[in-house]
Assembly symmetry: C2
């Protein structure tokens, strides 16, 4: 980054000191997180994208690059919801609401938000989020799970789910012996955050032949092995529906996990951001919270953190960065510490908070005209059926290809195919000191 002529270097050699911050002096945990998010393929992709951007893309047999390594639906044409965007627009302009070219229902909702909060949008909210949104999240969970009241104090609004997961891992991981069980395959957030917090990742493998379900034996073995190495395993992450594996876990699977975690003194982090993205007939999403609270003592005492987001589901509002986390059975002193951690970072962005309210509190017939409700329902149905159709197409096409096999995508937004390589590719890859999958990917360039 710093460049100057050689002569000048010589001249001032004795006075210019080397930089204070170098790879040797910065936080070593940051370095450890390296390969979790900046693998060879994303780096190659970034290089190609830059070549295309500056007009040097002609060496490639394609003119643009489609990034499929992150769920970002609006970039592929998924439209945002009219009701949501119109309410947000009105929230930004309280004095103009009545002049906006929107339905009366949109105006009423925006006015309701403004009536609840002084200086909506523009002022910091409480660090944990607007109280009325947290109340609506609480009602949403109660209705979804058919359970008891959810204390508002158990809800914190976050800048997306990853922000909440970061906070909880920061709270749980105390020293380099502390570990977290994570599913493999996973998406890179968990390995990166665990490395940053200097913790130990304890992998448990999902079984591809069983449609990426969990094998209790494998769970036990992973835990045993980690403990034999002195790792203090404190938590288990479940991603349901799976990312990047697209499976849905049923009630029995969740019960098994709850018993396993309770008996082994672990808390659960339930990453449930795809809870609306269910495609397979006959399958449904059941929340970890619901299963947990319906279990007998002592299992219903298990400590649980659940995460949801406005980025996935049918909203797909990734850029807005909204979401919430629910904390169940958490010791009140610990909960106060988590609230404190949130306070240090101040409130989550208010646009995300309002969007979270719109997610958990969509237009309903008690509040809105039939027209508004139907429009919303239609937009939702269209998005979800489009996802379902595309999940089917992707799986079908992959399975028709030679030497590729892909488990059915039951939910979420991803397919995770298996590639069978010929001896020739494996040998060639070995010659270039690459894994066969990396070699295969590079050959496309």
């Amino acid at each position: 980054m710093i460049s100057f002529p050689l002569r000048q270097i010589r001249h001032s050699f004795s006075t210019i000191k080397p930089p204070v911050l170098t790879l040797e002096t910065i936080c070593s945990k940051l370095l450890k997180a390296e390969y979790a998010v900046r693998g060879t393929i994303p780096m190659k992709a970034a290089q190609i994208a830059e070549e295309i951007r500056i007009g040097q893309g002609s060496k490639h047999p394609f003119g643009n690059l489609t990034e499929l390594n992150i769920g970002n639906p609006q970039i592929f044409g998924q439209p945002p919801f009219s009701f949501i965007r119109e309410v947000l627009a009105s929230c930004f302009n309280p004095k103009m609401i009545d002049k906006m070219p929107f339905h009366q229902d949109v105006k009423s909702r925006s006015k309701f938000y403004h009536s609840n909060v002084t200086a909506l949008i523009g002022a910091y909210s409480e660090s944990v989020g607007y109280r009325f949104v947290r109340e609506n999240v609480s009602k949403f969970i109660k209705q979804r799970d058919g359970g008891n009241d959810v204390p508002v104090s158990n809800i914190i609004l976050t800048d997306g789910a990853s922000n909440g997961i970061n906070m909880i891992l920061s709270t749980i991981l105390s020293n380099e012996k502390d570990g977290v069980m994570i599913p493999i395959p996973q998406y890179p957030l968990y390995t990166a955050l665990i490395a940053l917090r200097n913790g130990q990742e304890v992998p448990y493998y999902l079984n591809e032949d069983l449609g990426w379900q969990i094998c209790p034996n494998d769970l036990n073995n992973s835990l045993k092995e980690a403990r034999s190495k002195g790792v203090n395993v404190k938590a288990l992450v479940l991603i349901n529906p799976g990312n990047p594996t697209g499976q849905i876990f049923d009630e029995d699977a969740l019960k098994t996990l709850i018993k396993f975690c309770y008996e082994n003194r672990m808390v659960i982090l339930a990453d449930e951001v795809y809870q609306e993205n269910i495609y397979k007939e006959g399958k449904k999403f059941v929340s970890m919270k619901k299963v947990l609270t319906e279990m007998p003592q002592p299992y219903n005492r298990l400590e649980l953190f659940s995460f949801h987001s406005t980025s996935k589901g049918f909203l797909g509002e990734c850029g807005i960065r909204g979401g919430y986390m629910e904390m169940t059975n958490i010791d009140s002193d610990v909960l106060a510490q988590i609230v404190k951690l949130k306070s240090i970072n101040l409130c989550s962005n208010t646009t995300g908070q309002i969007t979270t309210d719109l997610m958990v509190n969509p237009p309903k017939k008690e509040e809105c005209s039939q027209e508004t409700v139907e429009k919303y329902e239609n937009e939702r149905a269209e998005i979800l059926s489009s996802f379902k159709k595309r999940a089917q197409i992707v799986t079908d096409k992959l399975n028709k290809m030679k030497n590729i096999k892909c488990a059915e995508v039951e939910g979420a937004m991803y397919a995770f195919p298996k590639l069978f390589f010929t001896e020739k590719i494996i040998t060639e890859a070995a010659k270039r000191k690459m894994n066969p999958d990396l070699f295969y990917t590079y050959e496309g360039f």
Copy 2:
């Protein structure tokens, strides 16, 4: 939080295990951050606010509580800028822009944003932020400082300044011996973040009698003392204009700091979020970046992080959580690590990114009609003159009070008075095992 009848406890005593997460098992660094943000007074205030909320406020001689411990201008009636809010509203509704009840200039700006980005607002941007916003930030800095081009790769868009400061402290602090010099008085962000990262805070005292300026001798002594205790002091924080002390540092003060930091192998974090909030005649804001780059070698090689935000200045858009940081003279490998850290957390919220663009790229006569430019300028002048007037009133009133003295508020949004206590108060406070200032504050309740 968990309550159940005593009989049940007895019955299942042998099976219900204590919680996994307790103050003994969670991250000890989180506990250490305790008093930095949850002091006795904010906790007392929160308790009173809750009493008022649930209708039990009648025991107090006031009916509502005004929280002055954080800069949150819109909650006290500062209006948001029409142009900014109207453009944001239009950004949320690309298909409706032409039907919105806004000026053509607002529509053009929104369309310009949409033409730059696919799925503006709704899709994740690059982790470091929209490229066009970073380009405009770069132009803004160049114009503000009258300096050279600013590489776009040195700019990262953040969710407010505190988010950027958090990232940089995470990068710098590697182990429990690493320290950061922070001004005292400061606001609680720095002590809290340093505690969370397990670092050492190294205080340097601002001199109240000199209008909260820095004394080079004190700087040297603080550093010497820290080093004698084995602290590896890696960075110094300067808040200019000061929070909560309201002073402005001139070019000479900044030069002294730069030399001090360069000679002593420290990088600088320049917290400049109040750079627009200048009230004292004859004083002006000069950025650390400007002074640094104009200094002779080797001092112009000092490593610097500068932070700005949409929350303060004249925008006061605290809830939106937008801002940027500029990295000067940072080793390219280290810069790549910081970009990686940002990537783990995904992009900053897009509303904040657009608001940052609107801050650095206000309506100008080359782009907009005279009407739009004048309206914006008038709104700005009104807000800034109102701040100036209020700063004056606060200082005057405080200084007219018996046993209170307050330095002139030159900038930012705070006054930091000194209270002189009588022997009687000091003795009474000692009896109750309180500091006199805490006792004085409690007596008001």
